[in-house]
């Protein structure tokens, strides 16, 4: 549907369920992809599956040096970074009163600060090219809050404000900055929930089911496309109606 032929996309967290699906969808639309993540083996497996136009660029976004190096490694591998998908994220859930400074800062560092740093680094090339797409994967909990996830919700809501501010600054240069906010998606993370937890969650979702990673990837592919050039500073909620915000 959307043609990304000739575009180069860096996807962080590509070893996870949603990130892998995003990389697959962008690749299927014709993009060259650089797959980043902490675990190299699944990235290699995905690169083999995709075949041509796929590069593996492992990086641990909790490591400041790795964050600084990643944009250049990706640009060297692909020639440029035209599309940046900030998908990587971690959780360190805990009740607010029990949350340590470390749990707070680990989540903010990886989920918010690294996105700022990666985005800043790729902007130079996008400004020169007068074309660029940044898509940040947030979460429904950034809009609704969630008990036990004060750090995660803060980081995800922070991404929304950051994206809007950056969207203002670079809109005149053909660069868009948007967010996709998944609800509950079937991944290894949600597989760990027991049946009781699952049925509770499903009760809150008008669609009556969890989402598929491919449904997040489709939203990302749209926002990365030329057709979405007039959409910027937006958050696209993909949550089966769980939160209509």
């Amino acid at each position: 549907m959307f043609d990304l032929t000739g575009k180069n996309a860096l996807v962080t967290g590509a070893s996870g369920g949603i990130g892998g699906a995003i990389a697959e969808a962008l690749h299927a639309a014709g993009a060259t992809v650089a797959l980043s993540g902490t675990r190299e083996a699944p990235l290699q497996d995905l690169a083999v599956k995709l075949g041509e136009r796929a590069h593996v660029v492992p990086a641990n976004l909790a490591d400041a040096d790795a964050v600084a190096a990643l944009p250049k490694v990706a640009a060297d591998a692909m020639g440029s970074v035209d599309i940046l998908i900030n998908n990587a994220g971690i959780t360190r859930d805990n009740l607010f009163m029990r949350m340590s400074d470390e749990e707070w800062s680990q989540v903010l560092d990886v989920n918010l600060t690294s996105v700022f740093q990666l985005s800043r680094a790729v902007l130079r090339g996008m400004m020169k090219a007068r074309w660029g797409r940044i898509v940040n994967i947030t979460s429904v909990v950034g809009a609704t809050g969630n008990p036990g996830q004060g750090n995660y919700a803060a980081a995800k809501a922070g991404l929304v404000g950051m994206s809007k501010s950056l969207a203002y600054e670079v809109a005149s240069r053909g660069i868009t900055v948007n967010c996709v906010a998944p609800g509950f998606i079937e991944t290894a993370m949600t597989d760990k929930l027991n049946d009781d937890q699952k049925s509770k969650i499903l009760g809150q979702i008008p669609a009556g089911r969890m989402g598929q990673p491919a449904e997040i990837a489709a939203a990302v592919t749209y926002l990365a496309s030329a057709e979405a050039g007039y959409v910027t500073g937006a958050t696209l909620h993909v949550n089966g109606g769980m939160a209509m915000v």
Binding site: M127, K128, E169, V170, S172
Partner: protein, 77 residues
């Protein structure tokens, strides 16, 4: 005009889309040539590439006019 001044002028004309005769040494990028703050960042990037130099942020802030740019670049190349 020196070679550096000519090259700076050419970049400014191309980037800001202004008439060449407006790009005087004393012309301020923002006040006289209609640049916005992002334009000034892009001009600094263009100077860095044209002359193969690094212009640190604190130095970039002092480059307000065409003449400022020429002076800085002369000292850096």
């Amino acid at each position: 005009m020196s070679d550096i001044a000519d090259r700076v002028k050419k970049i400014v004309v191309e980037h800001l889309g202004v008439d060449e005769d407006k790009v005087a040494e004393s012309a301020s990028f923002i006040d006289d040539l209609g640049a916005d703050s992002l334009d000034t960042v892009e001009l600094v990037m263009a100077f860095e590439e044209e002359f193969g130099i690094e212009i640190p942020d604190d130095a970039a802030e002092t480059i307000q006019t065409v003449g400022d740019a020429v002076t800085f670049i002369k000292g850096a190349v």
